[in-house]
Structure formats: C-alpha cells, structure tokens
C-alpha cells in the first residue's frame, strides 16, 4: 500500500476507527496497566516493564540503590537461577537490557514476536519473586562501582554535570546522581537492595508497554495469564520535596584532566504538568529548536561558524519529568577564547531573542522539522514503545501525545519571546565550568578558562 492511496484509506471508516484506537490499553485487577502499540511492518516485538521508581525516590546515604537493584534483577528467582534470565532471552533470539533514570526504572526485551509469551513469563516472575543473594550482591556492587568510574569519575563532562546538579538542587532529590555517590555504593548492603525491591516492585507501581507485530487482544490475555496472579500492595506515600525558590546565581568549577574547558549554564525551567492548559513548556521547546535545531540554527551559526568563539555549543531542555525542570546551555570555547567570552556570547544570543524575538521563518522551520521527526519516529519499534513509556513515567498520558504536537504547532513568536524573557533569569541560574588540568599534574598553560 502506498501513500497515494491515502484518501480512500481515510474514507474507510472502519479502518480509521481501528487505527485511532491504536495504542490499546487495559488494566489488570492488581493495578498493572498494559499498553499495546501494534505495528505490523516486521515480525518482531518489544516488551517493556516500567516501574514508577527512580533515583529521585532514594534517600540520603542510599543513593544509587534504584540502579543497583536494576542490576540485581538479573540475579535470579526461585524458578530462574542467577544469569538464567539473560540466557533464556538469548535462547529466544532476543536482546535485553534495562535502564534507571531519576524518574523510573525500565526493563526491556526485543524478540521475534512468537517469543513474547516467554518474555512475559520471565518479567512476571521477577516482578515479585526476586532473590537478592548476598554473594551475588557482593560481586555486582563492584561492577556498579566500575560503571561509576567509567561513566563519571574518569569522564570530566559527566563529573561537571554531576556537580552542577548537586549545586542547582539543594532540597529536591534530583541533586543526587542516578549512579549514586561512591561512598554510598561502598556502604550499600544486600538488605538495602532487598528493602527497595520489596517496597516498590509491585504490579500497581508498574506498567507494561508492548510494540510490534502483535494482536492486542491476544497480548491482553497473555498479560492476564502471566501478571494477573501477582498481588498488588499499597505504596508508601511519596513526599513532594519541592525545591525552594533559587534566589541568586550559583557558580561551581570542577578540575579534571582534559584539554578543553566546558561551560554549562543551567536555568530552572517549567515542566509540562497539564498538556491542555500549559503553554510555556511548549514555547521553551520551540525556543530550543530555534537556537539549536539544525546546523544553521542560531547558536551554531553565530557562535561556532561566524564568530568562532565556540568549538561547539548546544541547548538541552526536556519538558517532561516527575521532578523540577532545567534548561541547560553548554559549550566549549575555541582555542584562544575563554569560558567568560563564551558565556558572554551565549548571553548575547539570549538577549537578542529577549529584545527582538524570533522570525516567522525560524518558527515555521522548527515546526516542519518537528513534524517530519514524528514520521521518522515510526521507523523504530523500540522508539515507539520508549515514547509511550517515557511520557507515562512523567505522569502524563500517551493518549495526549497528539495533543502535545498540536500545542507545539500553535506556539507563536510572541510566546517564544515571552519565555525567553521570563526564564533566562540570573537568580535561577547555576553555572558550571570544567577547568582542564594537565595529565601529568604540571601546569601546561595559564588557566585562562575560569573567571569567577
């Protein structure tokens, strides 16, 4: 079938209503939600289990336990021995892994579609029956410490980012790194991991997302068979831990072996809480696209290409999350230019939008890119399941993804200018600088990078 036949397809009402129902959803008696996105292009399926539990739910002294438990989830149950989980997924021709974020912990398998049933059996088993064996824990905690060394301790940019967040957030748990502080890992016990599992790994704190060449009715029946017998349990109350208002700029620097300095400017920014009523998070997303959405967007064009003050520059803003939002500007100055010059140049670009706004052509371009990216996204089974899982994890509904797109398409130039004026506010700013150090400990050149 081809897009030329689009209009007849749209006129076929039975087909259209079927299509609009996709994704499909049901909720089991124990509170577990099951969301199915059918995509029949290839005979594969993605199975994901998302737990509404992440590093933001940890307490001081136990940072990293959400992620450590994720590792322990592969260490066996009474029915499935240590290492056996991976073995069975591999035997099914599958690939599997898991990821922990601030907001959630998720597990996935990509398999030939006939193997979905086996994957559900495995995930259901470890949802309530995990062994947290002390001997396995003792080995695995070392693996996690190696992971921390690799990802953070020996990676100057990650270290800077970790320190930035520890400074930007004082009360909210986003101040702690997902991987955990090294000392917390050193003192963590199997009992800590077990307590975490017992508290949070229940069907009513989870949802299952499946995408691929499957029939949703069959998947619902399969889910009932495997997950239906698991008991739900009331969850402890979670405290909001709202971050107090920041009332003045903060600056930190990190010294680490490197050649090039790095500058990050993080501004507190709003998060999407009500898809229909909110407007500012959409305007900020369009602002980010106008500044950094393509190679000739404002930042790269002006700072890297024309003025050559930066080797690279960018903006990161994610408007969905359980916790508070941040908008990050980041970059590396060109050789012979300082971090202070780069900061001034970034501020000048922001000021330009605050004063003069953005052009209709820029806004139209950002919207065109956004729409095309929606079509490209459909090329990935995994990506489609991820999109549903992530939006749900932030407390919003996948049913409103289309509405979010509509709202983005309606953002006006005036709204973009208004959020630029409101949120690039020094009182809500945290600046982090990587101060590069020579590898041999001897001074290599004057540390012109840091100006406090």
């Amino acid at each position: 079938m081809h897009l030329r036949h689009l209009v007849p397809v749209l006129l076929a009402p039975w087909l259209l209503s079927a299509a609009l129902a996709n994704p499909y959803e049901t909720t089991l008696a124990n509170g577990l939600r099951v969301i199915v996105k059918e995509d029949h292009r290839a005979p594969t399926a993605v199975h994901m289990v998302w737990y509404r539990i992440g590093s933001m739910d940890e307490v001081d002294g136990a940072s990293g336990v959400a992620h450590v438990l994720e590792h322990m989830m592969f260490k066996g149950t009474p029915n499935v021995g240590p290492g056996e989980f991976n073995k069975r997924v591999a035997a099914a021709g599958g690939r599997d892994n898991a990821f922990t974020s601030r907001d959630y912990t998720a597990y996935f398998q990509q398999v030939p579609k006939e193997k979905l049933d086996d994957m559900m059996a495995l995930e259901a088993d470890r949802m309530r029956h995990l062994n947290v064996d002390a001997k396995e824990f003792a080995q695995e905690i070392k693996v996690v410490m190696e992971e921390r060394r690799m990802r953070t301790d020996d990676n100057p940019q990650s270290k800077l980012f970790e320190q930035m967040n520890a400074a930007a957030f004082q009360s909210h748990p986003y101040r702690r790194p997902i991987i955990g502080w090294m000392n917390d890992l050193e003192t963590m016990t199997a009992a800590d991991a077990k307590a975490w599992y017992d508290t949070w790994y229940v069907p009513n704190n989870a949802y299952v997302v499946i995408s691929g060449d499957v029939d949703h009715q069959q998947v619902f029946a399969m889910a009932e068979k495997h997950y239906g017998a698991l008991d739900g349990r009331p969850l402890p109350q979670r405290k909001p831990q709202i971050e107090p208002r920041q009332e003045g700029p903060r600056r930190i620097s990190v010294k680490a072996p490197a050649e090039l300095p790095v500058l990050i400017m993080g501004y507190k920014a709003p998060i999407l809480r009500d898809i229909d009523r909110d407007s500012e998070p959409y305007a900020l997303e369009m602002l980010a696209a106008i500044l950094d959405g393509h190679d000739a967007a404002r930042f790269n064009k002006k700072l890297v290409r024309e003025d050559k003050v930066a080797l690279s520059v960018g903006i990161d803003y994610d408007n969905t999350a359980r916790g508070p939002g941040m908008l990050y500007l980041h970059g590396t100055p060109s050789e012979g230019r300082t971090v202070a010059e780069l900061e001034a140049a970034l501020r000048a670009e922001i000021a330009r939008i605050q004063q003069d706004g953005v052009s209709p052509a820029e806004l139209k371009r950002a919207k065109a890119q956004l729409l095309a990216s929606q079509v490209y996204k459909l090329d990935s089974m995994f990506g489609q399941a991820m999109e549903i899982g992530q939006i749900e994890a932030s407390g919003l509904s996948y049913k409103k993804l289309d509405r979010m797109l509509e709202k983005l398409q309606k953002v006006t130039a005036a709204e973009v200018q208004a959020v630029a004026r409101k949120y690039f506010n020094d009182d809500a700013l945290t600046v982090g600088v990587l101060d590069p150090q020579p590898l041999d400990g001897k001074a290599r050149r004057p540390a012109a990078a840091v100006r406090h």
């Binding site: 081809h2 292009r41 035997a91 599958g94 050559k308 080797l311 890119q369 090329d379 590898l439």
Partner: protein
Amino acid sequence: MTMNKLLTAVIALLATQVALAGVKIEHWTSSAGARVYFVESRGLPILDVQVDFAAGSMFDPAGKSGLAALTRATLDLGAGKLDETAIAEQMADIGANLGGSADTDRASVALRTLSAKDKREPALAILRSVLHHPVFDAAIFDREKARTIAALKEAMTRPDSIAGKAFWAAMYPDHPYGRQATPESVATLTRDDLAAFHARYYTAANASITLVGDISRRDAEQIANAIAAGLPKGETISLPAAPRAPKGQLTALAHPASQAHIYIGLPAIERGNPDFFPLLVGNYTLGGGGFVSRLMKEVRDQRGYAYSVYSHFAPLRQTGPFQIGLQTKRSQAKDAIKVARDVLDAFLKGGPSDEELAAAKANLTGSFPLRLDSNKKILDNVAVIGFFGLPLDYLDQYQARVQAVTADDIKAAFARRVRPADLVTVTVAAD
C-alpha cells in the same frame, strides 16, 4: 493535507500492513558506472538514500592523516550556489536530514527525507549539489581544521581514546589502518588537498548507492542515475598492500584515571572471507554474546572486575581486527588481563561446548528478524552488502550459514585468525 492528518493516515496504513520476512534487494549499475542497491519499502512515507565511497582514512596519504575525515566533514558546508547556511536551512524547511561520516574504509553521505515528491525532490537536489559541487571554501576549511585539531587534542587526554589509538598503531605498524590523525598531521592539510581528494575518490566508479523506502524502481533508477551522472567517472581505486601480522607486544601508557583501559587483539579478517561465519558463531560464546558470553561471566559476574567486557571481529576491506576490550580499577588491571587471556586461551584450545554452540546458533538465527525490522536497519545492512560487494543473497543465506558452522570449523578458524603469539595488548592507566 496537513501533517497531522498525514500522521493519522500513516498510522492507519500501519494497521493494515502485513509483516514481510526477508529483504528483496534490487541491484543494477547506473549508466555512469555506480553500483546501485534498492529496497522498495512502502510502509512509511520515508526515503533513505546513502552514497558510499571508498574514501576512508586508509586512503590518507602518508603524513596527511585526517584528510579523508576532514574532506567528508566539510563536504556539505557549501556546494554549488548554496552556502552552508542555505544547505542547513533548506533541509530543515522540508524536514530532511543530511548526515554521514568517514571511517577507515568508507566515506558516507546519507539523506533521510519524507518521500512525497515536493519534499524529496528539493532534498535530492541538495544531496546532488553536495556530492557534485562541494566548494571547500577557504575560510570554512580553516575553521573546521581548527575545530578538528582541538578535538584531537582533547581526545589525547581521554584514556579510552589514547588506548584505542595506541591499539590500532600497534596492530597495524606498516598499514594505513594504524596511522592516526594527529594535530600535527591535520595542521599540514590545505584546502587544495581536500579538493584533490574529493576529485579522486568521490567518483562514480568508486561509489555504491543504496536506496530504501517509499519509491518505485523507476524512481530509484532516476534518482541513482542523477546522482552518479554528476560524479566524475573515476577509476577503481587500488588498495594498499595487505596488513602483515604484528609482533606480539605490550604497550603500557601512563594516565591519572581511576580505571585502566585495556585492549587485546590483532588483525584477523577481511570482509567476505568464508572464515567469518565460524568466527561470528564462535565469538558469540567467547565475548560477543553480551551477558551470556564467557568473558562476561568470568570477568564481570564472577569477579566484579568490569562493567563492560567483550570480544569482537570487525572485518574491514582489508584485514580488520579481532579485539577484546575492558575497563577495570587500575590496581587490578593485571589480574583482569590474566582472566581475559585465560578465557581466550581456553576457548582457542577447546572451542565451544555442544551446549554453547547450540545457544550461539539459537540466538544468531533467532534474532535475525531484529536485524531488519526498520528501514534504517535495512539501509545499514544493504549499504554494507553493496559497498563490500557481498553476495546479494547474503541476508537470505545468513541463518543457514550460521546453522552450518561446526565446533571444528570454529576451532580451525580461530586457530588461523587468532594466534596468541601475535596478540598486541595496550593498557592505559594500569598500575
């Protein structure tokens, strides 16, 4: 039609598509002499076009390492009448993405666009301009050169980059695969070097064009012909002398990092060699099978030495490497290397058990559909088949070739390709 309606319609189409197994590759040679590979895929209104040239870093002249990479990096920064800003803005206006990169063998230019005619035609016009008439503007060249040099200096402070560069240099002492771009080598490059490299290597005879997506064979022929016709005809490029086996050796480099980075390996196999399947199946058990491999079990699960440990074969145009990689706390580097070497030695001696061989085959054949379940994955696979001249039925035969491998095949192929005395080991930050 608005884009939102289009999206709804696309989703409606997906609901009616029937899953297809296998990939039908159509192949022909364009009138100008470029090899063309086409897979029609109507499920989504997307077209992918990738043009690959044998123009990777293996063709960098001695002393000018970095030329291939910089040529590719500046190719789309001004072409014909379009300056770099116009190229980026016009692509963004129609939601198209222009990408690609250069590795040791290949320089790639890749376009993803919506397949509707009013989108794909302007996108393809820009793609042709970039391939046929890159400007290599002097000021832009100077800027990109400075950025490249800065990035190389930064990489020289990273333990993993330092280890990777030293590893390739040790494996390929007499071959271009072992020569690395340095700040000094890039500093010698001129704008004219780039133009000359482009003229010599970005030719029809040296190109393979892969198209995947929502177009007809006739459209694919026209698109490929127009791309190839604007390229210089060129000639088939001769390859450097094949790499020779290195002398087994240990290179230990100092670094203040908390973790040691370790690579062990040697040049092992080129693309298209029949030993590939026994090596692929055998390596699944050794260190390719992720969480179920022997290296993972011994180094990570049993001892907690590393987060990541693996082995793989990376066949290239000429003899590509076998490599084992891991990172571990610097004080236990020697112990971790010993464990990895013991695992390798035991595997070379005994090969996989019957159970391991069956598990490897089950995964490699069973996971085959996952290799092809998106246009992007089909594009990647078909581009490799086209560029390296693998048989057109490579994907159709893949599962049978895996099934046919015996334990003896694996032991024999490993004995030929992974000779312990020739292994080079590189460590950075090991105590």
